[in-house]
Every structure is written in structure tokens, then in C-alpha cells.
């Protein structure tokens, strides 16, 4: 375990022994030979001879956060527009345009309010998460507190999901009302350092407001898809005679069509907007909190061996998680069809941050 830290010659910050540039001031370290720490190679693996090329400039928290707030508003607006359009269209076909628009507005108001105000609790209950007990999950709570200090955020509420799979997610419409949830499988298999990496990643999602966007997207799109399913499966049964009440069933039918039209559209928005860049960003920002990218890298390695299953997994919430619980993405998975980058690539990038391995990812 013992490895001497590296001190940045520029600003004096302590860094990982394998670091290639300083975590604090971003100044590069000289190659081992020319460094003023030349004799100090105890325990550290030899870094590459030349400094790695710096990654593309990262969004600051501030930029990422305002982008996410903007995108969330856009999502609500886009859905409002499509609800109104489809509502008017169906209202026009089945009677009055006004009724159609009114129905669409009511439905939209219910959905939007649910997404914004109840989103987190819905996601928690889907995945059977319970608030972490103070004494039973002392280490978890401490690690969350440590990371909230490192990120300068209020301490989020902590939840635990009963599952042998290893996974975690963060949710909340703002940092003051945020939460993190982890599976029991994760707690059992990770050491403190790795857990810190995972929680750091989740705090990064909270800090850059990814959680606001994710939770809105999850509930809006998820509920539309769910209702479309319900109505579409309900439609064939209407032919059996008992459901013959004219206007009522017409309205139900209209609603079904509305949702059926919206569902693929909404799912498409979700898929387009949840980019793998967000996960890379959270990995990098999380590493900035822990100053130890190898913790998360090692956690991801364990997860890829054990599996990331969670209770109640479904397509509406898969993008929330640390590692996608539904699908395993191969290294060359297409960016279009995956919510997460491949775990192997993420590990590679994290190691490159610590100056280990080639920085080609």
C-alpha cells in the first residue's frame, strides 16, 4: 500500500505518485529523470517518459450545471409542444380541438409535476431502495460525508438497495435535495478507497446537475412508455363488447394513440440526449474530488466481473446508474445505442488520469 505521493513543483499540492500533471494547478510533472524528486521512486510504478497529451478541456461544473438546467427546460418544453400538437390532432378527429388540447394539457401537467417533484421518490421505490441505517452503514455514510466535503455540496441522503449486483445511482432535482443509492452487493465487495471512487462519481453527477436532467427524463419518458404499453395492450380487449361506452372509450382510444405516437419519439429524445460524455465527465470530476482515479477504476473492474444488476431494472431508469444494469456494452459499442461508455474504456481513461497505461482511449 505504501507509495510516496508526488508534490507539484508549481503549486505544492500533493498528488498521486503516478500522476503526470498536477491535479490542482494542472501543471505537468517533469519526466522522472529531470524532476526534483528524482530519487523518490519508492513504490511508484515508473510513469511514461513524456507527459501525456492533455485531454480536451473539460466543462467546468458551472458550465455543465447550466447546460443541464437548460436541457431540462428544453425537455419539458419539447414534450409540452408535442402533447399539445398530438392532443389537438386527436381532439380534431374525435370531436372538438379544445377538448383534445385541454386533455393533453391536464395529462402533461400531471406528468411534469410528477417528474419534477416526485421523480426521486419514484425512482427509489422502483428499485426498492431504503434509507441507509446510521449504525449498520456507518462506513457508507462516512464516505458520503467525506465526498460532500470534497465537492463542497450539502450531504445527500443515503439509500441502500438489496441486491447482489454492484451498482449505484444519484438523483435529485437540486444539490440540496439530492440522494445517492448503492446496492448491498457494492458495499460488500468494495473497499473504502473504491467506495470513495464510486460516491465521488455520483457526487459529480449531483454537482453538474446531471441528476436533474436524468430524473426528469426518466419519469417523463418512462411514464409515457409505460402508459403507451398499457393502452396499446388494452386496445384489443375493447372489442369484447363490455367496454362499449361510446364517448368514454373514444377518449381512451385517443389517449392510447397519443401515447403510442409519443412513446418512440420520447424514447428517441432520451437516447439522443444521454451521451456517454456525461459518464466520462462524471468519472473525471469524481477523480478530482477523490484525487485518486484508481479507486473508481478498481471498483469498475470489480463490477465488470460481478455484474451490475439491480432490483426493478428497466429501460426508463437504466441511464441513471453507475454502470448500465441491463446491458453490457462491448468495447466497440456504438455511441448511438448505448447509455454508457464501455466499462473497459472508462477504466482505461481513469488509469490514464493517474498516468498509468497509454492515453489512447
Amino acid at each position: 500500500m505504501v507509495a510516496a505521493g508526488k508534490t507539484c513543483p508549481g503549486c505544492g499540492a500533493a498528488n498521486h505518485p503516478d500522476a503526470v500533471y498536477c491535479n490542482l494547478c494542472q501543471g505537468p510533472f517533469l519526466p522522472a529523470g529531470g524532476s526534483r524528486l528524482a530519487g523518490d521512486t519508492a513504490g511508484g510504478s515508473p510513469g511514461p517518459a513524456t507527459p501525456l497529451p492533455r485531454a480536451a478541456p473539460m466543462l467546468s461544473f458551472y458550465e455543465a450545471a447550466s447546460r443541464n438546467v437548460r436541457l431540462s427546460r428544453l425537455l419539458f418544453l419539447a414534450l409540452l409542444a408535442s402533447f399539445l400538437a398530438v392532443g389537438a390532432g386527436i381532439g380534431g378527429t374525435f370531436g372538438s380541438v379544445g377538448t383534445g388540447i385541454a386533455l393533453a394539457l391536464i395529462l402533461y401537467a400531471i406528468l411534469a409535476a410528477t417528474a419534477y417533484f416526485r421523480g426521486s421518490s419514484i425512482v427509489l421505490s422502483i428499485h426498492g431502495a431504503r434509507e441507509a441505517d446510521r449504525s449498520a452503514h456507518r462506513t457508507l455514510r462516512n464516505v458520503v460525508e467525506e465526498m460532500s466535503i470534497a465537492s463542497g455540496l450539502p450531504v445527500p441522503r443515503v439509500f441502500v438497495m438489496e441486491s447482489p449486483g454492484m451498482n449505484a445511482f444519484a438523483a435529485g432535482r437540486n444539490p440540496e435535495e439530492s440522494l445517492v443509492a448503492v446496492t448491498t452487493g457494492l458495499l460488500e465487495r468494495l473497499n473504502r478507497e473504491e467506495l470513495q471512487g464510486v460516491i465521488g462519481h455520483e457526487m459529480a453527477h449531483i454537482k453538474s446537475r446531471d441528476t436533474l436532467y436524468y430524473i426528469c427524463a426518466a419519469v417523463l419518458v418512462g411514464s409515457i412508455a409505460l402508459m403507451a404499453d398499457m393502452f396499446l395492450r388494452g386496445v384489443p380487449f375493447r372489442g369484447r363488447g363490455e367496454a362499449g361506452g361510446g364517448r368514454g372509450s373514444a377518449a381512451t382510444f385517443g389517449l392510447g394513440i397519443l401515447l403510442a405516437i409519443l412513446a418512440p419519439f420520447a424514447a428517441r429524445i432520451l437516447q439522443m440526449s444521454i451521451s456517454r460524455q456525461r459518464e466520462y465527465h462524471a468519472d473525471a470530476v469524481g477523480a478530482q474530488f477523490t484525487r485518486n482515479p484508481l479507486g473508481l477504476a478498481s471498483a469498475l473492474e470489480k463490477i465488470s466481473q460481478v455484474g451490475a444488476g439491480v432490483p426493478g431494472e428497466n429501460r426508463g431508469t437504466q441511464h441513471l446508474f453507475l454502470v448500465n444494469p441491463l446491458r453490457h456494452f462491448p468495447d466497440d459499442a456504438s455511441a448511438l445505442f448505448s447509455t454508457h461508455p464501455s466499462t473497459a474504456l472508462r477504466i482505461k481513461r481513469l488509469k490514464a488520469m493517474a498516468g498509468i497505461g497509454e492515453a489512447t482511449a
Binding site: A3, A4, R138, N142, E145, I149
Partner: protein, 182 residues
């Protein structure tokens, strides 16, 4: 064309207000970050007597280690001035580390629930101290960047927003890997 100066004036006032408020926010942030370090240091002072109380019966032959922890705590509590205090805190961290190393040698001590939870609390507090210092330094960097860069440096120098100092770890604590505490 009389409205052009008016628009320029409004723009200037708006820029002034926004920049001034950002500077105030950043200054408050790093000052608050400094007090957060103190909160964690205080927590460590409070935890140490409890740990000493629990382990001392087991450690008949390790009184020296315990005495060193207690003395280091006393020295850190009474240290005056930032530099002296920083030094005393480092000595305390070192002494705690050797105490934990000793605990590892006593199986019945390791199995003790009280010791385990106190050890976890102290480890967490150590981590919180270093993360609080890290956040303080990050906040100082953001603040210093703002007051030194153009154009916000104009307002900063006019309204006496002076440069903030980084927290500097002592040489001995730099050599210490954080991994040891886990």
C-alpha cells in the same frame, strides 16, 4: 442617438454588480471552507479521548504509544498560530497512525466493536480533514483566479479583495500516503 451612452452605462453597472457579487460569493466560500477544516479538527480532538479510554486496558505494554497520542492532542489543542498548529496537527496524525498500527497487533482489540467503530470514525475524520483542506485550496484557487484575471481584477483591487493564502501541508504529511488511513 442619446440612448447609446445610457445603454453603455446600464451595461457597465450590470457588469459591476455581477462581478462584485461573484467576488463576494467566492470570498465567502473559501472563508467558510477554512472553518470547515476547524470543524473536522475539533471532531478529531473529541474522538481521541474515547479511543484512548477503550484501548488502554488492552495495551499494558504500549503505554508509550498512547501517551504520545495524548500529548500530541494536547500540543495541537494549545498550539498558537497557523504554522505551529499545522505542525502539531501533523504530529497528531502520525501518532494516531502508529496507534492504529499497534491495534492491528491485538486480535481481541480488533474484534472489539467499540474500537472498530471508533477507528472507522477517526479514519473518516482524517479523510474529512484532508478533503476539507483540498476543498479550501480549490476555493482559494478559484478566488485568486478571479481577482487576478482581467477584467474582474479592476473591481477586486478597487474594493480590496486581497489574495488568499493556500493551506500548505508540512513536509512530513506530504510523504504520507492517504492510503495508509483506510
Amino acid at each position: 442617438m442619446t440612448w447609446i451612452p445610457a445603454i453603455v452605462a446600464i451595461g457597465l453597472v450590470g457588469w459591476f454588480v455581477l462581478t462584485y457579487n461573484v467576488l463576494v460569493r467566492l470570498r465567502n466560500q473559501f472563508r467558510n471552507a477554512w472553518y470547515q477544516i476547524d470543524v473536522q479538527l475539533k471532531r478529531r480532538y473529541d474522538l481521541i479521548p474515547n479511543l484512548v479510554e477503550v484501548v488502554k486496558d488492552y495495551m499494558a505494554y504500549e503505554q508509550e504509544t498512547l501517551t504520545r497520542v495524548i500529548e500530541a492532542r494536547g500540543a495541537a489543542l494549545s498550539a498558537k498560530g497557523a504554522a505551529a498548529q499545522g505542525k502539531a496537527e501533523n504530529v497528531l496524525t502520525e501518532s494516531l497512525k502508529s496507534l492504529f498500527a499497534v491495534v492491528e497487533k491485538y486480535p481481541e482489540l480488533k474484534a472489539n466493536q467499540n474500537v472498530a467503530s471508533l477507528q472507522e470514525e477517526l479514519t473518516a475524520t482524517e479523510n474529512k480533514i484532508s478533503f476539507a483542506r483540498q476543498f479550501y485550496n480549490d476555493s482559494v484557487m478559484t478566488y485568486n483566479n478571479k481577482i487576478q484575471s482581467i477584467p474582474s481584477n479592476i473591481i477586486a483591487s478597487a474594493f480590496d479583495f486581497s489574495r488568499a493564502e493556500y493551506f500548505e501541508a508540512g513536509e512530513e504529511s506530504r510523504a504520507v500516503p492517504r492510503a495508509d488511513l483506510r
